[in-house]
Symmetry: C2
Subunit: 487 residues, 2 copies
């Protein structure tokens, strides 16, 4: 691919993320089949372009005419979803060329990732036909494009939808694994990560990581990019692209297949070849790419970048013990954050004195971490303490560990609501970000209620101090990369 201007790039990928028409080849009237679910997904999501179901048997599906072939569709087709078996694919591609479609996405699997001769031969044939026909290929062996704004859901609508479309936002993701993409969307719905676009490209025989990275870097709707990668066919090209992308916006990469066991699985999964985890890590760092090491860390980091993108602070204040039992949380929270590299500066003397007057001295840890147990769970006292800590010049960000189970034992629900409202108020009335750690326990219904409330108010919520600290540290690392790039 030659160097394209931003405008050309956006134009090139428009038929993929903003197509005017989609043909689904291999539809079915059987509600259990993917060929039904795919069309149903587009219809239910409210895709506003044309949807053309295709099956030689013809008929009707969800009020839409089923065309016997791609050629039979009277209008132009931007994007083709291919659900038919691998052996029927080459013929279809002749139709795609004739029809002058822009992009063909293969949900169909059974190509290079199997490792048999037929699979590899078919992949070569696909590539050749795409070149000749002037269209691009996504896949094979993948879910394809996802774009809440254009109402394109992630894959087929299943028997029981989990509002699979999600809200539109500013996060982009690129994944070699369809399942990981689905999980990212699911976590996003639960935790408030809002995606602009996502792409699952499986074996990536034509459009691959590099192409989608360039596009997402150019796309003004995307502010941060996350990627799940299992390998690459051209490391040099990938890393030079990453370096360029990371200059423009934050890029977080989770490279799987790091171990022998993982790499063997990756080969069967997307046909990716392994390379040393250490080499990848070093190259990512050199390219100013933030590395994540698990699905949780990738999601946590995307959440933090989405919510705190412009944060360039350093000092973190930690608070525990909203109701009681904040001592151990303070000690261990201080450990976790320090060990992961966060700066936990002691609060200034005057803040400590004010906290001591407010909370009392006995049983209190007031340097930072701060144990507010002595506040006895009184919402007004706690809010006062949060304000004092946030107002201290050494504090650039506040992490509060809130233990639903302990709160539920110590105070009425109204007080718990009041405490959480104070976080929401503080977000609105001052500039320093607030991050809440809300661990699991024996009061999960209430915990979910609080998580939902805070998430709705754009406060990032994490299940453990460790995960919050890692995500914040990844944001700090990005600031450092940026400082280096700027010289």
């Amino acid at each position: 691919m030659n160097k394209l201007s931003q405008k050309e790039l956006l134009q090139q990928f428009k038929p993929i993320f903003y197509p005017e028409s989609i043909a689904v080849v291999g539809v079915s009237q059987d509600m259990q089949k993917v060929g039904y679910g795919w069309v149903k997904g587009l219809v239910d999501a409210g895709f506003s372009g044309s949807i053309y179901p295709v099956n030689p048997r013809g008929g009707e599906l969800l009020g839409l005419k089923i065309y016997p072939s791609l050629a039979a569709i009277p209008e132009t087709v931007d994007y083709v979803v291919v659900l038919i078996p691998r052996n029927a694919v080459p013929d279809l591609l002749n139709d795609c060329a004739a029809k002058k479609v822009k992009a063909v996405h293969f949900f169909t699997a059974g190509f290079g990732e199997i490792g048999d001769a037929t699979g590899h031969r078919l992949e070569e044939e696909l590539k050749e036909k795409a070149r000749q026909g002037g269209f691009r290929i996504i896949g094979p062996n993948c879910i394809g494009a996802y774009c809440p704004k254009s109402k394109i859901p992630y894959g087929p609508l299943a028997a029981r939808p989990l509002s699979a479309l999600g809200e539109s936002g500013s996060v982009g993701f690129i994944t070699q694994s369809g399942g990981i993409g689905g999980k990212l969307i699911e976590i996003g719905i639960a935790r408030g990560i809002k995606y602009s676009k996502g792409i699952s490209f499986g074996n990536g025989i034509d459009l691959d990581t590099v192409d989608f990275l360039k596009y997402m870097a150019a796309d003004p709707e995307i502010s941060v990019i996350g990627a799940y990668l299992e390998g690459t066919k051209d490391g040099h090209r990938l890393f030079s692209t990453m370096r360029e992308v990371a200059k423009v916006k934050p890029l977080i990469v989770w490279k799987a297949g790091r171990t022998e066991v993982g790499a063997a699985a990756a080969k069967s999964h997307t046909g990716s070849l392994a390379s040393s985890a250490l080499i990848w890590s070093a190259a990512l760092k050199q390219a100013s790419v933030v590395e994540a090491y698990s699905l949780e860390e990738l999601a946590d980091t995307l959440l933090i970048f989405q919510q705190l993108q412009r944060w360039q602070g350093k000092g973190v204040a930690i608070v525990g013990g909203l109701a009681d039992g904040g001592g151990g949380i303070s000690v261990s929270g201080g450990d976790t954050c320090s060990e992961l590299g966060l700066s936990i500066p002691p609060l200034s003397e005057s803040t400590r004195q004010q906290l001591s007057s407010l909370l009392g001295q006995v049983g209190s840890i007031l340097h930072n971490p701060v144990d507010v147990s002595q506040g006895g769970g009184r919402p007004l006292i706690l809010e006062q303490a949060f304000k004092l800590i946030l107002a201290d010049p050494v504090t650039h960000l506040l992490i509060v560990q809130e233990d639903t189970g302990i709160l539920m034992m110590q105070m009425p629900w109204e007080d718990i609501e009041a405490i959480n409202n104070s976080f929401i108020d503080l977000m609105a009335t001052q500039d320093k970000p607030i991050v809440i750690v809300l661990p699991s326990g024996a009061a999960e219904m209430e915990r979910l209620q609080i998580e939902h409330k805070l998430t709705q108010a754009s406060i990032p919520v994490f299940p453990t101090m460790e995960r919050a600290a890692k995500a914040i540290m990844n944001l700090r690392q990005y600031s450092r990369f940026q400082a280096t790039i700027r010289g």
Copy 2:
């Protein structure tokens, strides 16, 4: 403390965990006060011994006579809970001596942990009076003893109880932080960790880690011990005790205050002095103690030891993709488990062939990890696959990642139930342990329902592959320690 026989040790700690009578000094008729909650907790839990509330004002509490002083109680008192302020404590101890009580527990804080002269002086006075009076001290600044079997709850019953007593089991815990103990119990209730006894001993001026370790090692009701420690006054004594304990039963220690920040907080919290994290880690290893690095890891490890205690296997099989999207899970799950040191041997050729016939070749990863996505979520096919994998001689333990959100999108609830029932059946009909990874997402209600069902069936459930793998690795490490000890 001299070397005591097991019988003597059990006898010595009987008044603490199995007291015949408990006096609560500093009770209150105000339901908001801890002096009300403590008595209410014992009454509601069904403590079968005598409960003697004490307050100079007299009166009645929950149908119990309030005695004006300890001396006024007509019967003997085994265990005294002290809730009065620190300055009133020395006088009370004279009464304890006169009354010949066996153990005095100080919920009261404000001693050595504050760092003022009065606090230190009072601690010395307490120790002296205990020596003279022939009783032992627990605390100060702690929650004291917890024993579901003798119906002693962990601290006061709060406004809204979360069935704080928990079920009786075989896990013992020792903690310097009251809050951490409460959190361990809460997690235990949610995830099926059942405690025999727990002790929060705060500053530990008399009975401390060493004493409780010796007792729990001797106690036949305890099969595994977990400890949260912030420091020790006598490292040599602590580590030689740990070494002895670890010969008898597994000991898992989470040492907090590892960093400068954490250590400073620990000093304010329980008056513990810091020492190098590296020295601790090395000493724990030398003593054959399994080290945990967070609350989550401590709880996860206790759960694994409780459920799989006799497991001494090596090979772990990983399965993902019950409904779909198991490729990324297989690659990353393989990475995570390998990186943490678990052995993931390839399944034998015949198992792979059988899996291939059962599931089909296209899109399947069958070496180990195994992606069963091609099973299409059909419960009978999946059960067959689990059976084949479990029957393979290289498999000693099976980890299955089950994604509730994905299952909910792909299949009816009856099928999800059937799949989980097959795990429960397999636990009953063969010997190899099964561990389930059940990540959070957008179907939390259903996830909790599945977690509860599996937990009830004694199947350990973890929220992430990483946490499952770490806990299993800790169990493997213990087997290795044991092999070394045995020569």
